[in-house]
Amino acid sequence: MSTYAKKQGFGATLWDYLTTVDHKKIAILYLIAGGVFFVLGGLEAMFIRIQLAIPNNDFVSAGFYNEILTMHGTTMIFLAAMPLVFAMMNAVVPLQIGARDVAFPFLNSLGFWLFFFGGLFLNLSWFMGGAPDAGWTSYASLSLHSPGHGVDFYILGLQISGLGTLIAGINFLATIINMRTPGMTYMRMPLFTWSTFVVSALILFAFPPLTVGLVLLMFDRMFGSNFFDVAAGGNTIIWEHLFWIFGHPEVYILILPAFGIFSEILATFSRKRLFGYSSMVFATVLIGFLGFMVWAHHMFTVGLGPIANAIFAVATMAIAVPTGIKIFNWLLTMWGGSVKFTVPMLYAVAFIPSFTMGGVTGIMNAVAPADYIFHDTYFVVAHFHYVIVGGVVFGLLAGVTFYWPKMFGTMLNETLGKISFWTFLIGFHLTFFIQHFLGLMGMPRRIFTFLDNQGLNTGNMISTVGAFFMAFAVIVLVINIIITSVKNVKVGNDPWGDGRTLEWAISSPPPYYNFKQLPLVRGLDAYWVEKMDGKTEMTPAEPLGDIHMPNSSILPLTTSLGLFVAAFGALYNMDDDKTWTVPVIIIGLLITLGSMLIRSIKDDHGYHIHKEELTDDHDKGVKA
């Protein structure tokens, strides 16, 4: 396995990535796939904004608009934001806790491929008779009513990729609980690791309700059951609850990792330890906890009654407290620090007021009677883009720039980065600030057009112009990535110079076994502690010895591929005129079950890197 250092042909590299179980390569896979889906979702957003630029526009048709709208929301949440979050987690968390890999390398790869094929499946709907068109929430009465197969693509695609997400969540939990290096106690874990931990727990408890909801919807649409058929005793509110029991924790699944990334960046570029570390940890846990008790704030107008509305309103508002604690701790982290405005830091800094603006409109939404006004208007659209773009997307852009050298060993261009940052920031506020007012002035969301003379023209135009700024910023970012990759100037362990945590103690990118010897952690910000003691390396916690590594495998890919194939069969099975569907289902399931069978029958003990090999390659070696 010392082939690592050798130059490889394209085919070999491809095969390497298709079969990899290395968390660092899986991170890159997530990054690429998530990035592509982000651009796709962004393109859909541009279609939305172009259509809404002027009244009575006919850039896209009504039905097509609903497809774009649904796919924009679904793609952005499930196929762009989540995988990009996973990219960051995979790239960073094992390094931050000083582990050689995650707890289940094989499952890690399986999780990625499930997500990937689920996303691919969902997007193939564009070419196979139309995309889902019932909104990313797919409320039951409409999603049952929706003709064609769009909603079926939604159901099966999300089911497959959701499975991948669940696996990834369990994997990170086990990794963080079991794989920490000696000295890395819970209260010494970097905040990004902490938020990964909490987020994984949220995934573990939030995805099963979605799974159940999707199963019920699938049964209703494909097998004639009556969960949501009122005439046969069904109830559509069940779907709404199941969806939001998942849906609200989901938004914290997105934002908490961003919070974690910002905590790392703000401390790093202020050259100061995170202010109020323990209350930050506490706040993270509390947000995760409260996140499960507020879902019905999406359903204030459903008619649940004043008691339920009041309870959920108050519970929702409570989340302002731990979030506020975080905001002020970040500000105080910079207070008295030595603040350097690199590109990641710019995003982190801009995040604070932007997210606060989105957060406070969230609290306004939580005021139930006021939400009767806001609900399903552009006010809500403004709220959630402020928290999602101003929080999650800023967090991902910051994280990707910050960890780019750690993932690829080379630095993104700072000037281009700053151009991206400023245009994105301006475009973002231009697009979404005005939408608060559009909503209040009577513009519902999810409308494919609006009539002239309703006072909505100017606002919509401004919003569209802003979106073009964001598109420009993204294009500059892509150019930046291309230029950087072509130049490929290599950097050292700690390219930002102010690294505090373990990941900066090893080379960029790290060797495939991460740490030659597991490092000994002596405090919060382990690497910083050593630096302040005048050392340049971590003290090892174990003697140099053989390292046990997992084998690569193509089985995760084939397992997922089988489900992908079977899903096509299942989807068309409800059409009476198609006879090929049952064989396709069977073939697909055979591929999946066969792969699983091989996995369980073939013993996979992994292999060992021998001590001697480790001492050989000095330049690749770990400073551990």
Partner: protein, 360 residues
């Protein structure tokens, strides 16, 4: 870069200002111009929360500006700042103050939530089973059209909701196909029309505010319901109590429409052959809900809009009859009748435009 940042902070403020000046949208549509008690209550609550939120944003912004300007790293500065762990005093402050702010917000929130849910007046029935002192409207939302039934008056309208001003109007809300949501932005928040159980709430229309809006409010569907969700508009006609009573009486008394002119008569015949199965032309339609598959056309000639969205002209009506799919994709009328010749369309138009109940 310093100055650029500064300018950017001012942008939102400028934005607010322009909007305050431009009058916050139209009186007939905007939630920023509340036109009744319910809307006013909600508006007040919104303003209270806005003030608190602006306060929070200002505090955060001030701290933010201080931090990013005061603590910049100078070029070549290699000093290590003091590694502060935290501060209990500060932590307590920024935990307690938000809690206080939230308590200020929760109290009216809870109170108003219960107040607005008070529809007890709807249950007070007299001997004949009619509601005692309240006007009740049964709203039934259908794929892209609205039906308004006044159960105690025995009257049904579609697309145009007629309400008296200065009194509470109570609503029973249901949907007959997929979920919709009933919203008159100027008069108050929305309430979903579910397919499962009926919802109840009330609105109030202030006569003076109604005057400002020329007695006409815009209503919208606020829940995605299919391709033409954006076009599922309706109108609310506000009348003084007296006018409303007169209107109700006329509606109740209205019998089969009588039209004039041979073209219209011809239209009537066509209508009775192909349209009457779904559309009724008298406001006192006694068929059950499931039979009422299309808007009641008794007052079609008096409508504000054709199909809820097109201007009320003969031209538009003809276009609509020719191919409704163009104007409301996915509507349930498309394909229910054969191809109509130009002559037939003209005849139908003449007939329909004469369907009036008031001011004959």
């Amino acid at each position: 870069m310093k100055r650029k940042l500064h300018k950017w902070r001012l942008l939102p403020l400028l934005g607010i200002l322009t909007f305050v000046l431009s009058g916050c949208g139209m009186a007939s549509l905007s939630a920023l111009r509340p036109a009744g008690e319910v809307a006013q209550t909600q508006y007040n609550l919104m303003m209270l929360s806005t003030i608190i939120m602006v306060l929070v944003v200002i505090v955060v912004t001030i701290l933010f500006l201080i931090v990013i300007f005061r603590f910049r790293r100078k070029k070549g500065d290699d000093t290590i700042p003091k590694q502060v762990e935290g501060s209990h005093k500060l932590e307590v402050i920024w935990t307690v103050i938000p809690i206080v702010l939230l308590i200020i917000l929760t109290i009216p929130t809870v109170k108003v939530t219960f107040d607005l849910a008070d529809t007890k007046a709807m249950d007070q029935k007299d001997k004949e089973g009619k509601t005692k002192d309240a006007l009740v409207v049964n709203v039934r939302a259908n794929l892209y059209w609205w039906e308004f039934e006044y159960p105690d008056l025995g009257v049904i309208t579609s697309q145009d909701l007629v309400v008296p001003t200065n009194e509470k109007v109570y609503f029973n809300l249901v949907a007959s196909d997929v979920k919709h949501s009933f919203w008159v932005p100027a008069a108050g928040g929305k309430m979903d029309t579910n397919t499962d159980n009926p919802n109840q709430f009330y609105l109030e229309f202030d006569s003076q505010k109604a005057n400002e809006a020329e007695d006409l409010f815009y209503g919208k569907c606020a829940e995605l319901c299919g391709p033409s969700h954006a076009l599922m508009d309706f109108k609310v006609v506000a009348k003084s109590k007296d006018e409303f009573n007169t209107w109700a009486k006329e509606m109740k008394a209205a019998s089969e429409p009588v039209v004039e002119g041979s073209l219209a008569k011809q239209g009537e015949e066509i209508f009775n052959q192909s349209c009457i199965g779904c559309h009724a032309v008298t406001p006192n339609d006694s068929r059950p809900e499931t039979a009422r598959q299309a808007p009641n056309l008794a007052t079609f000639g008096e409508r504000e809009r054709i199909a809820g969205v097109l201007d009320h002209t003969e031209e538009n009506l003809k276009k609509w009859l020719e191919d409704p799919e163009v104007y409301k994709p996915g509507n349930t009328m498309t394909g229910t009748y054969g191809e109509l010749s130009d002559g037939q369309i003209n005849a139908l138009t003449a007939y329909l435009m004469q369907l009036k109940v008031e001011e004959k």
